[in-house]
Amino acid sequence: MDGSGNAAFVAFERVQKSYDGETLVVKDLNLSMPKGEFLTMLGPSGSGKTTCLMMLAGFETATHGEIKLDGQSINNIPPHKRGIGMVFQNYALFPHMTVAENLSFPLEVRKISKSDREAKVKRALDMVQMGEFGNRRPAQLSGGQQQRIALARALVFEPELVLMDEPLGALDKQLREHMQFEITRLAHNLGITTVYVTHDQTEALTMSDRVAVFDDGRIQQLAPPDKLYEEPDNSFVAQFIGENNTLLGKVEEISGETCKVRLDSGELIVAKPVNVSEVGERTRVSIRPERVEMNMERLQDGAFTLKAEVLEFIYMGDIYRTRLRVAGHEDFVVKTRNAPDQPRLKPGERIEIGWLPEDCRALDS
């Protein structure tokens, strides 16, 4: 599922962007999306997500490189001719027009006849279940309703590509979850290619076909959500997506699919080498809290184990969250399912922990 090659609908090729001529905000961006894909750009603030979106929409020009839409370079096509639907973070609904006028605006500028316009506006409003709100002004709508109108407006002229820049940022959690569902449903039903920007990782993981994790102007990893979570390519992605335990050490031996890492505290563990290639290299070993095993019976024979001391035990309903001191790190977290056979630990208890070698990834440091 790499989406490269001729099938690419949207393609960034070696794109760079600088605003001030001194620093690159986007550094060497390569990305290709097949038609119909829902791709999310995820990354910390200032990592260049909006900039990428704006370059695609035509409001910023790439300093270097090419952006292609459906095989054609769009570097020199003005925004209004790109036919890209866009949902802005603050919705950007025109306050002086009613909802229906807002929706019919893109149709009017496309010189679509009045009757067609009305039909399309009605269809778009129904699509987002806002059929009765045509005569209201945006200011008379709630945040979620405005959001839906913005979505309907971006879709009403049937664009093949829709860009959304943190469209749910202003909504409360419940509404946000509802809208996440609604947006993905619409995007899939209509077969639209979507580029979605967020810095909420849950949103990214639940909605997308693929997620592009941005940092420092580069895509750190581009992968489907499950792969991103379970097989992070580097320590930034491992840290950024989900909760993560890291242990620092040095590679001692690499043999194919496994490697041995000597932790700074002296213990030896087995890990899966991801981006370490040489013996003696420093590494950051990453284990997901829910992949840490405290029940030794479940571990394979010969698995490496570590001694740990319980520092904190938090009951969270569905799970237990235990903070441990492991190999000199005090922020090692283990999550265990709340099951009848699961012991409730007390601070000060000493236990042993272990994991499967493939869950423990040796990454760059």
Binding site: A57, G83, M86, Q89, A92, L93, F105, P106, V109, R153
Partner: protein, 536 residues
Amino acid sequence: MSDQTASGRPESPQSPVAALPGGEVTERDQDGPMLAADGRPLKSSLARALRREKLRALALIAPLLVFIFISFVLPIADMLFRSVQNDIVADTLPRTVVALANDPLEEEGVPSESTFAQFYTDLYIAEEYKEHTRLGSRLNYEMSGISSLFRGTGRAVGRFDTDIYADQFEAADPAFEDPAAWADWMADDDIRAALPLTTDAYDAWAGIAVELDEDNPAEEDPEDIVYTSLYRDLANGAAPPAPFPQVDVSGFESVSIRELFIEEDEDWADPEVWETIRAYSSRYTSGYFLNAADMQTTPEGVELRPENERVYMTLFVRTLWMSLVITFSCILLAYPISFLLATLPARHANLLMILVLLPFWTSLLVRTSAWKVLLQNEGVINDILVWIGIVSDTNRLALINNATGTIIAMTHILLPFMILPLYSVMKTIPPSYMRAARSLGAKDWTAFWRVWFPLSVPGIGAGSILVFIMSIGYYITPEIVGGTRGVFISNRIAYHISTSLNWGLAAALGTILLVVVLALYWVYDRLVGIDNVKLG
């Protein structure tokens, strides 16, 4: 808890009770209003609490409010009040006003002898107090020539041949020669009641003696007005009781005061003079307003002045029209500038802003005078146009001392007042609207015209109101560059305030201007809606 509260309110023992966390209790009668903890209706409790807050807030600003009221509202109200105030005739000629009101003016519109006699008394007193000239100039606004009539007759009135009465009375009874006797008589209520005209004249004369000459009336011979009045009282059949000397005046030689006046100046026989005095004798007048609206009172009623005399109407129309033109030129010039201000990067925008604000740091007079230099016949602009060859040397443009000059200079001076509100409104339009419009397929111009422009209209509204209202009352610039054809109504008001001293007319013009502005404001509110105006 419930029992406790219920027992406190025996009239509704079963009222449901809700306890508030603070231990206070709110209850509601079965179907009565919500009650507060002390049993009063919640609504009135709330109103009381709010009122206390409001009063406290009011007390905080009270000193300022009083200051504004005294230094701002009162003077304006006083000034506006002058437009209908007309005390001077009633104050200066009180007796004449009463007499005129009862005088049928049978003899070709000229008052009767008795009215003239009252007028004689009035004018005599006014002359002593030197008030007849003020009255004359006031009435001169309504009828030219009255001023000199009053001045001239005022000088002569002391020399009227009424001294024959004094001589005849003194000859009839020597008691009249004694000022002290006069003082005694005039202290006697019965005598006063019997001789109303005499009493009135004597009191006025005594007042003059005390106030102006610092004399004791009991030591001075009464003036002719007193004897004239006495003659008229007695001729009317008055019978003053003793100790007033019994004098029979039927044999006295008499003079007609009416004739004396007409002899002095035949204009006193002009019915128009008396019509004017009568018309302006009430304490309130619509005269100033009629005048300000280019109307006049004629015997047939109120009518417009002849076309060539309609000064104020022309000025009002010109003021409104030119203010409109100035407002529109301000919009035209300010819009692009504000657009640049709002959209340029901060560094350039700040520079531009300084240029916009620069005029505020320069004196208004300097700026206006600079326009004189630029616009005059041999001025910079004409020179450049001639040099380029657009106009010939013999045919230089008349850019100053006319409406053009006023419009150019005022547009420049009022421009910042259009730019600032426009800018602050434009600044609040998020750039994402334009982007949204373009991403939806609108060309730059369409996006601007359909999205950006409508959102900036409230700024135009605010700026227009500001500029229009300021320009309608502008004075200094039209005065300097407007010549005669480019002056505004305010220049006329200023003229009446400081030169012709016709404050009543100035106040009437000002009131009309105020009403026009308020009416326009109302129309504007109706058409555009004042809610659609914002200053940012």
